[in-house]
């Protein structure tokens, strides 16, 4: 790892985004609009908004970062810039950390806006600290970055890359407890949801909403999400090869 190269990569990725203000706006505004919509959908059922809103605070950063990272790294692979970078003195870890830092920074802003809006304006009833919500959102964003990076290796085109979103993330959204509590599903599905990382992303959010202070379950959820992100990142690193056929 080389700090200069990592920071240069992060700055480069942010500069690329800087030339694309529409993407930034979409990343930041869309979650807020959807959460507001959700609030009025559940106008009569405040408890439902508390649980669904919390779950979505965990899901949004994951989905957004997954999409952005998978497309960005796919572009890097297909434009020849990845091959060029890997023929230069750039470590794979520098590249990955650079991406994680840049998109992580965007995720912080996105999560801060979404959390702030939900707690302050939409009246989400949070027992724990809003900072913990932010922390989980950030971990979820990193998971999205790592998964996006990993699947981009299996996409040959941007068409394929966007299809990985429904393929990889939608099943997790269905099973994460957003629609039906995880324990109330068929045992087989509960078991499946137990091994999917998004379940822990959403559980972590619920812990903060329902409990004051840091619970053991919260720590476990956060650790699982972070562990899965690191695992996906390591697998993603293995797909970056200096020599290709």
């Amino acid at each position: 790892m080389n700090t200069t190269r990592t920071l240069a990569t992060a700055r480069r990725v942010l500069r690329q985004l800087g030339h694309d203000p529409r993407t930034i706006a979409l990343m930041l505004v869309v979650p807020c609009v959807l959460l507001t919509l959700l609030k009025y959908v559940f106008d009569d059922a405040l408890r439902t908004f508390d649980s669904a809103g919390a779950a979505l605070l965990g899901i949004f950063p994951l989905v957004t970062m997954f999409l952005v990272t998978s497309i960005a790294t796919l572009r890097e692979r297909t434009s020849g810039t990845l091959e060029r970078l890997l023929s230069m003195p750039l470590g794979k870890a520098d590249l990955l950390a650079g991406y994680a830092l840049a998109f992580g920074a965007v995720a912080v802003v996105q999560a801060a806006l979404a959390t702030g809006l939900t707690v302050l304006a939409l009246g989400l009833d949070v027992s724990g600290s809003s900072w913990l919500l932010l922390l989980v959102a950030l971990a979820d964003a990193f998971l999205g970055i790592a998964l996006g990076l990993f699947v981009s290796a299996f996409a040959a085109s941007e068409f394929q890359a966007v299809q990985f979103m429904p393929a990889v993330l939608l099943p997790q959204i269905l099973l994460c407890g957003l629609f039906v509590p995880r324990g109330a599903m068929q045992p087989a599905l509960t078991g499946l949801s137990d091994v999917l990382p998004m379940s822990y992303a959403v559980d972590g959010m619920s812990e903060v909403v329902h409990h004051a202070g840091v619970t053991g379950d919260f720590v476990r959820d956060l650790a699982v999400v972070a562990g899965c992100a690191l695992l996906a990142l390591a697998l993603g690193a293995a797909t970056l090869r200096r020599r290709t056929a």
């Binding site: 200069t4 190269r5 240069a8 990569t9 700055r11 480069r12 500069r15 690329q16 030339h19 694309d20 434009s79 020849g80 810039t81 091959e83 060029r84 970078l85 890997l86 023929s87 230069m88 003195p89 750039l90 090869r241 200096r242 020599r243 290709t244 056929a245």
Partner: protein, 267 residues
């Protein structure tokens, strides 16, 4: 450290396979330091594969391939070899200057020197007037020159350029060749330049002629013309192709009319 005496690139029994196909077959050649060596041959003959092998991006390389005294792809070579792929490898959503600034950082050029290096590279490829335009908004030729400027950063000892003049107008092509000669003469840079436009061969000090993964010739343009009795390198190449096709024993009659081939630059 520059390897002053030995060849800049030395290949022995170099082969590359892709799937079941042999892309490069048992190549042996040496590229002298501080000179411009042209790598010529028709599209699909293995030029790009050979260049990728030299910069260490190509998988399944067999045989010996030494670059600046190290095995090709050695980590010490990564800052000493500049490489330009056929398609411009730059970020289209960054300006030319931002592209160069990033690659300069990756090459390890200290922050306070970066702006100077970037400006010099932009000047070398005559893009100072477009430095702050998005690479995606530049013309194809201009984007190619941004990609070339990236390879010039940090004054690498070896430049591997894959068809750097494709699609450029005659004036720019002349300017770039003047730049290549300046780099070789003033900085002692070794250049390996591929092209399928044979008239560019006359501008090189040495030539490697490649056809279907095999080396047809490794010589100076003058010696090639002399040996084949041809007036241009293009005729010499065609002569060698015919000769190779007829087998080693056959000798093509001098002055046999070369087939009327027009080799256009790929658009």
């Amino acid at each position: 450290m520059m390897n002053k005496h030995g060849p800049a690139i030395e290949a022995t029994a170099l082969s590359v396979r892709r799937g079941s196909r042999t892309v490069l077959d048992d190549l042996r050649f040496a590229v002298p330091p501080g000179r411009i060596t042209g790598l010529l041959g028709p599209s699909g003959c293995g030029k790009s594969t050979l260049m990728r092998a030299i910069v260490g991006s190509q998988a399944r390389v067999a045989g010996t391939l030494d670059v600046l005294g190290r095995p090709a792809g050695h980590r010490d070579l990564r800052a000493r070899v500049g490489y330009v792929t056929q398609a411009p490898s730059v970020y289209t959503d960054l300006t030319a200057r931002q592209n160069l600034d990033y690659y300069a950082a990756v090459l390890g050029i200290p922050r306070r020197e970066r702006a100077t290096h970037v400006q010099e590279a932009l000047h070398d490829v005559d893009l100072t007037g477009h430095a702050d335009a998005l690479a995606g908004n530049l013309s194809g030729g201009q984007r190619g020159r941004v990609s070339l400027a990236v390879a010039l950063l940090g004054a690498p000892e070896l430049l591997v350029l894959d068809e750097p003049t494709v699609g450029l107008d005659p004036v720019l092509r002349r300017d770039l060749w003047q730049l290549f000669h300046r780099l070789a003469a003033d900085r002692g840079t070794t250049l390996l330049v591929s092209s399928h436009v044979m008239d560019e061969a006359e501008r090189c000090h040495r030539l490697l002629l490649l056809r279907e993964g095999r080396l047809l010739a490794d010589d100076t343009p003058e010696a090639l013309r002399e040996r084949t009795g041809a007036t241009t390198v293009e005729d010499a190449f065609l002569h060698l192709v015919d000769e190779a096709d007829r087998g080693a024993a056959a000798h093509a009659p001098a002055g046999s009319p070369a087939p009327p081939t027009v080799r256009k630059a790929a658009s």
